[in-house]
């Protein structure tokens, strides 16, 4: 239980340190977008690993795992698309509109992953913590794209 209590604190510290670091370094929008996407990837990868671990321990059924996969796959594909679009974006040009659209899509897709998470496997806790992390990361990226 102690770990669960400490988790929001870790999250708040991470968000705070990341924001301070980025602003302090004066990074421009493309680097921020890249690092933001890396953080999103890591979160999605951790969700995938956790889902697999829960399945291995029989805490979720094959059907529940497949349901998660059907939601996680589009999120991963959108993240990859975002990475490819970012690569194609010339640093001296304004951010393409499609980037902002993709970021919005990704936010929605991550939400569907969380909603598909089995309640017995701690969906409420995951929703609360992940939403906070995603909001912070995506808001930061959107802010720098303006």
């Amino acid at each position: 239980m102690k770990q669960r209590i400490l988790y929001p604190l870790y999250l708040a510290l991470i968000g705070c340190v990341a924001a301070l670091c980025l602003i302090g370094c004066g990074l421009k929008s493309k680097p921020v977008l890249i690092t933001g996407n890396v953080a999103i990837y890591e979160a999605l990868a951790a969700i995938q690993d956790t889902a697999d671990a829960l399945r291995e321990k029989n805490l979720i059924s094959v059907e529940q795992r497949k349901e998660l996969a059907s939601k996680l796959l589009p999120a991963l594909q959108t993240g990859q698309q975002l990475a490819r679009l970012t690569k194609a974006w010339p640093a001296d040009k304004p951010a393409p509109q499609e980037l902002t659209v993709l970021i919005g899509q990704l936010r929605g897709l991550v939400q569907t992953v969380v909603e598909a998470w089995p309640p017995s496997a701690g969906r409420d806790a995951l929703a609360a913590k992940l939403n906070l992390a995603q909001s912070a990361a995506l808001a930061l990226v959107t802010l720098f794209l303006r």
């Binding site: 239980m1 770990q3 669960r4 400490l6 988790y7 870790y10 999250l11 991470i14 340190v17 990341a18 670091c21 980025l22 370094c25 990074l27 680097p31 890249i34 690092t35 996407n37 890396v38 953080a39 990837y41 890591e42 979160a43 999605l44 990868a45 951790a46 969700i47 995938q48 690993d49 956790t50 671990a53 321990k57 805490l59 094959v62 795992r65 497949k66 996969a69 059907s70 996680l72 796959l73 991963l76 594909q77 993240g79 990859q80 990475a83 490819r84 970012t86 690569k87 017995s120 496997a121 701690g122 806790a125 995951l126 913590k129 992940l130 992390a133």
Partner: protein, 60 residues
């Protein structure tokens, strides 16, 4: 849910935040060093996509 399960999930949730932060920091360093983070990210996404796709196709 039993306490062990709660602890396992709690630990996983902490790992999400810690690994995201470490990757975030590493990506910033790599960009500074001129390493193409996006190519690596593309490959990493592809590995994860293939894993989920296989699961959906095979039902494993």
């Amino acid at each position: 849910m039993d306490p062990l399960t709660i602890l396992t999930i709690g630990e996983r949730l902490i790992n999400i935040s810690v690994s995201a932060w470490l990757a975030f920091r590493q990506a910033a360093k790599d960009q500074g060093a001129g390493i193409d983070v996006l190519d690596r990210l593309d490959t990493q996404y592809q590995v994860r996509i293939d894993r989920e796709q296989r699961l959906l196709d095979d039902g494993a």
